[in-house]
Amino acid sequence: MKKPLKNKLDIIIAGGIIGVIASLLSLLGNPANMGFCIACFIRDTAGGLGLHQAAAVQYIRPEIIGIVIGSFAAALIRKEFSPRGGSAPLTRFILGFFVMVGGLMFLGCPFRMIVRLAGGDLNALLGLVGFAAGIGVGAFFLNRGFSLKRTYKQPLLEGASFSVIQVILFALLISAPAFIYFTEAGGGPGAKHAAVAISLAAGLIVGILAQRTRLCMVGGFRDMYLFKDFRLISGFIALFVCCLITNLILTAVTGTSFFKLSFADQPVAHTDGLWNALGMFLLGFASILLGGCPLRQLVLSGEGNSDSAMAILGMGIGAAFCHNFGLASSAKGPTANGQIAVIIGIVIVLIIACANSFNKKKD
């Protein structure tokens, strides 16, 4: 059993370990520059369940399952499992929906954004700019009293059900009944995956480490802006550095390139800078209003927060919509539908932000 971790050192070590794992997962079968991507993997899982029919991206990802269960276990051990919810769940569902719309415009979540940067994908820099701007706008609303109101204690089953659902998903993955979809070999990113046991173990480790250290990319930027606190961002800097170093070592050792510094020809990425930035702007803005990045939502759901579970369900449905209605980008770039959806998303998230702020007068 791990001892409680303190100060910045714990999150730096955790970030470093996660960065190494993220790099190794691509070696072991995950798509290139995609050792972890919460948005893509929730999308793949939605595909595995048949919620969309994009044959290239259908696979129930054990990493997602592992993160939730790992967080659940870590929370139980530290007596931090706390079933709670009731803080505007439908609004959070909608925000989660638009987190995914933004993520599938950029082709990544904040975690993958760091992993792509560590692989030399310079397009992720534009994503980073957009993301930072989205957090900044959200922070503006936080300073003006944005709140989705408080959570309340919930029954045990309300807090534990999402983790139980993950176990069921795992059973479906392993047993592979006919109604579960799997991208055919060579058919796209959905066919690229590490062995189930490896992916699950990686997810469990990340879930445990992220739960204990409160790792959160959104929080990382937000805490810098609002409180000049650098604890969370230091975890992600460590993640980036260790992922980058591992990529360079793997490139040298295996002869396969795990690092290429360029804009063009990056794996599962496009070069449209404006829409990379806008997609991550939407994701960042919606995520800060949710109180955390997609990884953090998974971790919180494992801790018993059913509002975070609603956000993740929103992300899953968002992924289904994106692929059913042609909103998701591809290596060729964004789609027109996707561009419209991102603009609509920014407007809707702005409305949600305004409607839930300015409630209290400043003294």
Partner: protein, 68 residues
């Protein structure tokens, strides 16, 4: 002494409330929260602002006292 009730509020709201309250520059504040993440965040912020922080816990409710 100002008492900030942050029960049921998730990160970052408790820290935002504390930050706004501390603008008045008083010598003592009390904050009540029921989740560990917010207990940690608010403790860190209070210490950064130069306050001594003491935490007591009863049945999952943390009461933090910030004194200067």
């Amino acid at each position: 002494m100002e008492i900030i009730d942050a029960k049921g509020l998730s990160c970052p709201e408790p820290v935002v409330l504390l930050k706004n309250a501390m603008k008045s520059g008083e010598h003592e504040y009390t904050l009540i929260t029921d989740n560990t993440t917010s207990k940690e965040n608010t403790t860190r912020y209070g210490e950064k602002m130069g306050y001594t922080v003491s935490v007591s816990e009863e049945r999952g409710i943390f009461t933090l006292k910030f004194t200067k």
